[in-house]
């Protein structure tokens, strides 16, 4: 698909962010045919381990069966609809309904019905009362699921974004582990607001996070540990795909230089220990290295509501002796209603790094971009709440749709960029947001 088609949506009507009738449409047309992140295989390591999550508008029990398979089972008894799991995590061989005692094995089969022989018709079809199960795929430990039997396979669905996810993970030179149960927070505002922020909003940094920049929490140290930004510039590359997925990568280069001026023989991976850079480069393909080298920040969206951020935060949130340390956080933005979103955060750390590095990586995430990250995250939540408050109180027709034209005609194509998708160079651009909403509009269709 040509670039002008990928990012062809330049406005979105205000009611898309506040109207419950729009969310009702989204449940069926956006969420149902899509793959969504439920969590990580590391959260359900042992047979019987379960976590309760949301898939579309349905609550599901994500459980590892006795056969080792991870399933996503509808958390509702097939008798009278009672919620089966009330806790949010645990271990169980069976799910027993608290109302009449129907019991389901942890693979979803209806295993027990009190008084089945004496009180139910002889032709009662037990198999027809198994718990509905979604399709689940574990991809490098990421548990994606969809209710749609007709949805394409996960790899096809991910398309070009898979290359970028793999590059970020391969840069860790091995396996990754998820740091404990996710952080969760309920935030004001429609699920699309924080999601399009992650799609590629480099524009908000200098305003929303002005203080984080001034306090040296972000963007004050070069990859080699040199403090201060004198003589350097941040070059943004925005990559959008027809599937609505996107990545924005920010690179530290010397003033007046371009990405092509990086020395391919001396890759730098900000936030990872310099003495490990050669090892990290060897774990990647040459094309992946051209994407990850000198990359200070990479964030993006797996359509519709999974986002990710890999960033090298500064020692300002640690001690003076702490080196620049990177973290990778993956999030899911689950609608509670049209105007409220639950955000789940998983921090991943590469097992190739030592225990102290991993601990520091998690702490830097917790201090800045966690659910309670008072140094960084709260200013984003503040803006999402302000957007919500103003949009919800606007009379129809009072103001035009939200504008997404930033960077139109002002960015340059990045034909030599090593990864797939439609890449444009331009620190200030809503290229990725336009692609997100183009896919969203394609699925939603005409709003009544």
């Amino acid at each position: 698909m040509p670039s002008e088609k990928v990012d062809s949506v330049t406005t979105v009507g205000r009611r898309a962010f506040v109207d419950d009738s729009v969310l009702d449409i989204e449940w069926g047309r956006v969420f149902r045919p899509s793959w969504q992140l439920l969590g990580f295989a590391g959260e359900v390591r042992e047979p019987g381990d379960y976590i309760v999550r949301t898939l579309g508008r349905d609550e599901v029990v994500v459980v590892r069966g006795e056969d080792g398979t991870v399933r996503a089972l509808h958390n509702s008894c097939t008798h009278r609809g009672t919620r089966l799991c009330r806790a949010s995590l645990g271990n169980t061989a069976h799910l027993r309904c608290s109302y009449h005692g129907w019991t389901f094995a942890n693979d979803g089969r209806l295993a027990g019905v009190p008084a089945l022989r004496s009180a139910y018709p002889p032709d009662f079809d037990r198999a027809a009362h198994d718990l509905p199960a979604a399709r689940v795929v574990s991809r490098r430990g990421f548990l994606f699921a969809t209710w749609d039997a007709e949805a394409p396979e996960l790899e096809e669905y991910l398309g070009e974004i898979a290359w970028y996810l793999d590059a970020l993970l391969d840069c860790g030179a091995g396996e990754w582990e998820v740091c404990g149960p996710p952080q969760r927070v309920r935030a004001r505002g429609n699920w699309k607001i924080p999601t399009d922020n992650f799609a590629g909003d480099g524009y908000h940094m200098r305003t929303t996070h002005r203080i984080a920049l001034d306090q040296g929490i972000y963007g004050d140290t070069l990859a080699d540990g040199t403090r201060g930004r004198a003589g350097t510039d941040l070059v943004g590359v925005n990559i959008a795909t027809a599937g609505g997925h996107s990545v924005r990568a920010g690179y530290v280069v010397e003033d007046g230089h371009s990405l092509d001026d990086r020395d391919p023989a001396a890759p730098q991976f900000p936030g990872y220990p310099p003495e490990r850079w050669a090892e990290l480069a060897a774990a990647q393909t040459p094309e992946q290295v051209r994407f990850t080298s000198h990359c200070e920040v990479a964030h993006g969206v797996v359509f519709p509501n999974t986002v990710f951020l890999s960033v090298a935060h500064d020692r300002a949130v640690g001690t003076d002796d702490d080196p620049l340390t990177r973290y990778l956080v993956v999030r899911s933005h689950v609608p509670i209603g049209a105007r409220e979103t639950e955000c789940l955060y998983w921090t991943l750390v590469p097992t190739a790094m030592d225990a102290e590095w991993r601990r520091r990586s998690y702490r830097f995430q917790a201090r800045t971009q966690s659910a309670g990250g008072i140094l960084f995250e709260m200013d984003d939540f503040e803006n999402f709440a302000r957007i919500d408050a103003a949009l919800a109180r606007s009379a129809p027709g009072r103001a035009g749709p939200v504008d997404l034209t930033l960077g139109t005609g002002r960015t340059t194509a990045a034909p030599g960029f090593p990864g797939p998708g439609h890449a444009e160079t331009g620190t200030f651009s809503e290229h990725n947001q336009r692609a997100f909403y183009r896919r969203w509009a394609e699925l939603v269709g005409e709003l009544p």
């Binding site: 009330r86 806790a87 949010s88 995590l89 645990g90 169980t92 740091c179 404990g180 149960p181 996710p182 952080q183 969760r184 927070v185 309920r186 935030a187 004001r188 305003t207 929303t208 002005r210 203080i211 001034d214 306090q215 929490i217 300002a316 949130v317 640690g318 001690t319 639950e342 702490r363 917790a366 201090r367 966690s370 659910a371 309670g372 990250g373 008072i374 140094l375 995250e377 709260m378 200013d379 939540f381 503040e382 803006n383 709440a385 408050a389």
Partner: protein, 192 residues
Amino acid sequence: MTAPPRPRRPGPRPEDLADGPFPDRGPRLPALDAEITAVLTEECAALDEGEHTRWLDLLDPAFRYEIPVPLLREDPELPRHSGTAVLFEATKRVLELKLGRTGLLQAWSDRPAVTTRHFLGPVRVFGTPAPEVVRADANLLVTGARGVEHAVLVTAARQDLLRECRGRRTLLRRRVLIDVEVATHEQLSVIF
């Protein structure tokens, strides 16, 4: 000639208790309840009155602040909060950065400021493995107000470690066990 061996401490150094697993309750020390309550009452007042310098002065240089991730579990015998995952974690330096924001024009989430009220329940004091350190447990209710759309009420169990040094008690560690499973961002913006 080798120096004589230094006498061994009877327990860990106070700084050692600021990190790692939170120390269990030692012997109950009711004689210290009133003294520790007075320290914590002044500390709550400093937070609510926006006396940030005074509040930071009550924190030990090794101070560690943590809000573990709440876990809703079936078995009431299992911990209600994660032993490893946190919603937020901070050092004294991080809290200095946070409180330093309020005077800056572009601290969007701190201007207008939230008016907080800390209501501290009865304080119970316990010993710890370090003789200079006591543990103080209390229930906490915090309210926050910032315009008609931002009204917060949070309840939590607060567990503090206080260190005595030269006749003065400073906060060495604070662990906040919030009651709600999934907090709002307004609730988590509170310093407990």
